[in-house]
């Protein structure tokens, strides 16, 4: 894959290469963080010095359906050796889908100095780079978190209803089968299921993985514009809401639109289909 700076991204600094991480991952002021879907991947071997942030156990409130609060985020950051001025580099499995989810949550607390390692774990492994099972030596850091600000990059159900009312642009990043309503959930997994199938009226279907190459890296800006602008009708000035099932896959698309294409107004609806498809009285299209 071509050099990140040659791909035409609006904010190429949001990405770092595997080479960069190999050289600078253990520099002072840099903390590499792995975030995966598979809970066994990190303990099976991780980039030397990398800490783990688990999408469910670390970032979600254990009781309410919500993210951790200011104290929880500050405590998490401290425990991972991250201070307010630390450059956080996130990587993970599934073409960085979970890493983007973590990065998006970091934005709720204003930690904008966060980047994604392009290609994620798959690329690091494919290049035969070192992985270790050794626990990193972490010094507890001081971290002062602001109150969580959900107003800029997060959308709630009522925001979506209002957005529909004003014919706002939406991207449903789920699979075509989920988008059409053909598929709801596996019978044994109603926790992430929905009573109704289909999609939010007006949403275009652009599966999240459209933005990724086979090696897990992000497609270049021209290819991304084809996907999101020529094909899905978005423009960089649009007010956009993205969603999926619980807001994790759509974090990947949020990252692409916001950082790689420079859209200034993209929100992730993390309630997503598990909320919308179970809500009484909301409109649904098939």
């Amino acid at each position: 894959m071509s050099d990140i700076n040659s791909r035409g991204y609006v904010n190429a600094d949001a990405l770092v290469s595997t080479d960069w991480v190999a050289k600078h991952g253990n520099d002072d002021g840099v903390r590499v963080v792995e975030s995966n879907e598979d809970p066994l991947l990190y303990p099976s071997g991780h980039i030397p010095g990398a800490v783990e942030i688990d999408w469910a156990a670390d970032l979600n409130d254990p009781l309410r359906r919500d993210y951790l609060d200011r104290d929880g985020f500050a405590s998490l950051m401290s425990s991972k050796g991250i201070s307010n001025d630390t450059t956080v580099v996130l990587y993970g499995d599934r073409s960085n889908w979970w890493a983007c989810y973590a990065l998006w949550i970091f934005q709720l607390f204003g930690h904008t100095n966060a980047k994604i390692m392009d290609g994620g774990r798959m690329k690091w492994e494919a290049e035969g780079r070192e992985l270790t099972r050794e626990a990193p030596d972490v010094t507890i850091a001081n971290y002062s978190a602001p109150a969580r600000d959900d107003s800029q990059v997060r959308a709630f159900r009522d925001d979506v209803l209002s957005h529909i009312g004003s014919s706002g642009k939406m991207i449903d990043v789920r699979s075509p089968e989920e988008y059409s309503g053909e598929r709801l959930h596996m019978p044994d997994y109603p926790n992430e299921g929905a009573l109704r199938g289909g999609h939010i009226p007006g949403a275009a279907n652009v599966p999240w993985a459209s933005a990724a190459n086979e090696d897990g890296t992000f497609k270049d800006a021209a290819a991304l514009r084809d996907i999101y602008e020529s094909n899905a009708g978005l423009g960089s000035e649009d007010d956009v809401i993205v969603y999926c099932r619980i807001g994790e896959r759509s974090s990947h698309t949020w990252f692409v639109l916001t950082n790689l294409l420079g859209y200034g107004n993209v929100r992730n609806y993390d309630g997503s289909w598990t909320e919308w498809g179970n809500s009484v009285g909301v409109p649904i299209e098939k």
Binding site: D38, P39, L40, S44, A56, M122, M186, Y189, N191
Partner: protein, 137 residues
């Protein structure tokens, strides 16, 4: 095994399952060789797991697994667990194992995608037992 898993915290559980994954032994060449037949592939499993059931003299089944995705660590752990706990057991018991056992093994915070794939391994395994039960009845 389930009781032991219940007593572990998240980190201990991951370590325990990782050690199981390290013990994974792929299907012997006497049973199957690459390319593995598609009818042995576990549907919905992104770890590209395959399952075989070998009939034993006592009527029980010996289960074998292959996991083609190198990142399929949980799938390899699942293969070890299914082999260790279900191989050689009465097939009516194997047939009744519920796929949602994966949440007790891997924890409630397993993502839907990962849970589906692992549950499909259980489902494929228990289907082999149900098939034999149907034939014998």
């Amino acid at each position: 095994m389930l009781e032991e898993l219940d007593s572990l915290d998240r980190v201990e559980r991951a370590q325990y399952l990782l050690e199981l994954s390290d013990d994974f032994q792929e299907v012997p060449t006497s049973i199957a060789t690459r390319p593995f037949p598609e009818n042995r592939r576990v549907p919905k499993c992104e770890s590209e797991a395959f399952v075989w059931a070998q009939e034993q003299d006592d009527g029980s089944l010996k289960f074998h697994y292959a996991v083609e995705n190198p990142l399929g660590i949980s799938a390899r752990a699942m293969g070890v667990i299914l082999d260790e706990t279900l191989s050689g057991q009465p097939i009516d018991q194997v047939a009744n194992v519920a796929p949602d056992i994966v949440h007790r093994i891997f924890g409630r915070q397993l993502s839907m995608g990962k849970g589906e794939g692992l549950a499909a391994m259980v489902e494929f395994t228990t289907f082999e037992a149900r098939q034999r039960l149907t034939r014998r009845n």
